[in-house]
């Protein structure tokens, strides 16, 4: 049995279904992110676990205990709010000590706990300050200290870094993850920042329209997204997606796309189907910029439209002969100019294929190099 189990949670606000059949198993000590666009229901899940909202259906189990019918003050869950929700009339020390009043602890023990927690978050010496005398980053640390001072069975973080500037966010991200590992505290964080989620989490649940699309490790989300939404949501710059249609030729299945005819294989003899609509996805880093005249089965002819220099690399925006736009990542020493004709070598084994109707990924289909002698043509020639 997992440490935190969400089983079939649903929630409706004024006839709008916000969450539908949410199932999630979190292991003890894991750091989990709920990632999704705004309105996907991720904050609602967090508020349901925290007890600030009640589910319409389903159950929540934490450390072997059903908690969905308990009020928030009896759930033993630490919550860090987006705007920190520090008590403005209390000093840092009083804020951190707030929850200890409900534990059987004597004064000396409380003080010791407060000081040790403040030391953990690097706020030693700030005990007597009021929240308004602290910077945003310091306030955020107080909020975390206040939540972990109770040594809760679960820590919930609601976009805790979104009110900080980019540099501080990067720093606190690392510190928070380190602290979480040291304390071994199971944590669920809500964020809309995929970089934050990718760098901090053991696993990420991707949400859309109140449903979990995929719950997986960051790397697997990136490499093996279950559907078009996850593929498009994860990755920056975003994946190149191209709708296309299967054509069965005498040599087998082919995929005419980007002015090229790629071959299509199916594992274990799975059917492909003539005329089947697919979406081909290729990440920008799996497109390599080469010479325009390189005649290989995997090179697409394209013309550079714009180049974005990022310092360590560059993004090349190009248009293929059939008019599609593609984005590729180029190393800084080898960046083409706008207007230049280039070839884009497709790393076919990294290509992802999705069903055009269900949008689900089709792991049984494999993209293969096309025939190099076929001239680039948008229409292609039927045999």
């Amino acid at each position: 049995m997992s440490y935190l189990v969400l089983d079939g949670l649903s929630k409706t606000f004024r006839q709008v279904e916000v969450l539908r059949d949410i199932r999630l198993n979190v292991e003890e000590g894991e750091f989990i992110c709920l990632l999704g666009p705004s309105g996907s229901g991720k904050s609602t899940i967090l508020r349901l676990i925290g007890g600030f909202e009640w589910p319409d259906g389903g159950s929540i189990e934490l450390a072997g205990r059903h908690i969905h019918d308990l009020p928030p003050n009896r759930r033993d869950i630490g919550f860090v709010f987006q705007d920190y929700a520090l008590f403005p009339h209390m000093t840092v020390e009083e804020n951190v000590r707030f929850g200890l009043a409900y534990r059987k602890m004597d004064k000396a023990e409380m003080r010791e706990r407060v000081l040790s927690v403040l030391g953990l978050v690097g706020l030693t010496g700030m005990e007597k300050r009021y929240p308004r005398q602290l910077s945003g980053g310091q306030q955020q640390r107080v909020a975390i200290a206040r939540a972990i001072a109770l040594r809760p069975t679960l820590l919930l973080l609601d976009e805790p870094l979104s009110n900080l500037d980019a540099k501080l966010r990067r720093q606190i991200r690392l510190e928070m993850r380190q602290l979480q590992r040291e304390l071994g505290i199971t944590t669920v964080m809500v964020t809309h920042d995929q970089e934050e989620a990718m760098t901090m989490s053991d696993r990420i649940a991707i949400l859309q329209n109140g449903m979990i699309q995929q719950f997986d490790t960051p790397l697997r989300l990136y490499r093996e997204p279950v559907n078009l939404f996850v593929a498009g949501f994860i990755g920056d710059p975003p994946i190149n997606l191209q709708p296309c249609r299967v054509e069965i030729a005498d040599g087998g299945a082919e995929l005419p796309v980007w002015g090229k005819r790629f071959r299509l294989d199916a594992r274990d003899g799975a059917p492909i189907g003539n005329g089947r609509e697919l979406v081909l996805g290729i990440r920008p880093e799996n497109l390599r910029v080469t010479d325009a005249d390189e005649a290989s089965g995997s090179v697409i002819a394209a013309k550079v439209e714009a180049v974005e220099h990022l310092g360590g690399s560059a993004l090349v925006h190009a248009r293929t002969t059939d008019g599609s736009r593609l984005c590729a990542v180029a190393p800084p020493q080898d960046v083409p100019q706008a207007g230049q004709r280039i070839g884009l070598a497709v790393q076919t084994d990294a290509a992802l294929l999705f069903d055009g109707n269900t949008t689900n990924r089709l792991p049984e289909l494999v993209l293969q190099e096309g025939r190099p002698q076929v001239p680039a043509s948008s229409t292609g020639g039927m045999p």
Binding site: N73, F87, P88, H89, F98, G99, Y102, R132
Partner: protein
């Protein structure tokens, strides 16, 4: 560099005073001048047949006011009224403000309108309302007798309780609005934060909500205290002349006895009490660290 900036600063200072002067003139004429006049009159020996500038000066009025046990008793009674009325409006006002704060849109508007109605009706109308309700053959007497709690009609008018109830009713809107205003400035997730740290709703209310509404409570208390101190029509009507508060005494002395100097002494004492209370409340506000809004 510094010199030139200092001169411009000085010039600005002068310009500032000139720009303020219309307001200052209004203040002077409306507030300062009458107060000064009051002070001057308070030292005069009463002589209605003489012009103000022909009269003799003496501290006699003050001596009389501070040594006469009757007036000291009135001061004591008036202050006691203030304390009771402030505490009662504080409790009832907080409950009302809280229920308005928690109410949904339609109920909220309705409740606010109901709370504000006494403000529109004026002291006279309100007092007459209470007069009718509390009268010997009014609905309250009828009800209590129907329930068997009263044998014969009892005249509630002229009792301290009746006057205090009428005053609480009259001043409640000020307290409710002050508290409601500071309730609204509390971030919505503070109670949630308190709950997540283990606080039950009552504990969260006492430890978070109440301290954060201190400013509203202090402001409301100051208003109600001052208004009770100066209340005239309500104690007069609901008290049927049996309740003598400072304002009634001032009226008596100025209008009935025609002893303006003595009325001035009482007025100045009332002003002084008001000043002290305001100072005390200001101090209280500063004590709370200034984060109260």
């Amino acid at each position: 560099m510094t010199q030139s900036s200092r001169t411009t600063g000085g010039r600005r200072f002068g310009v500032g005073w000139m720009l303020l002067s219309p307001a200052l003139a209004v203040y002077g004429i409306i507030f300062l001048l009458p107060a000064l006049l009051l002070m001057v009159i308070s030292f005069q020996v009463n002589a209605p047949e003489l012009y103000l500038w022909e009269r003799v000066y003496s501290p006699e009025n003050y001596r009389r006011f501070y040594t006469d046990p009757y007036f000291l008793k009135v001061i004591g009674k008036t202050l006691a009224y203030c304390v009771v009325v402030v505490l009662a409006t504080l409790v009832v006002g907080y409950l009302l403000a809280w229920s308005i704060y928690k109410a949904r849109s339609f109920a909220k508007t309705t409740l606010i309108t109901l709370v504000l109605t006494p403000l529109f009706s004026g002291a006279l109308l309100q007092s007459l309302g209470w007069y009718l309700l509390l009268a010997r053959y009014g609905p309250i007497n009828a009800g209590l007798r129907a329930l068997g709690w009263l044998d014969k009609p009892f005249n509630f008018l002229g009792t301290d309780a009746a006057v205090m109830i009428a005053l609480v009713h009259a001043f409640l809107p000020f307290m409710v609005l002050s508290i409601l205003n500071s309730l609204r400035t509390i971030p919505a997730n503070l109670p949630d934060a308190a709950a997540s740290l283990g606080a039950g709703s009552w504990s969260a209310f006492i430890r978070v909500t109440v301290p954060l509404t201190k400013g509203g409570m202090i402001a409301g208390s100051g208003l109600v205290f001052g208004m009770t101190l100066g209340s005239f029509a309500t104690p007069g009507i609901v008290g049927q002349g049996k309740i003598q508060l400072l304002a009634q005494i001032i009226y008596q002395q100025a209008i009935q006895v025609f002893d303006w100097p003595f009325a001035a002494v009482i007025s100045l004492n009332l002003l002084a009490m008001l000043g002290m209370i305001s100072a005390l409340l200001a101090l209280l506000t500063r004590r709370t660290g200034g984060e109260v809004r």
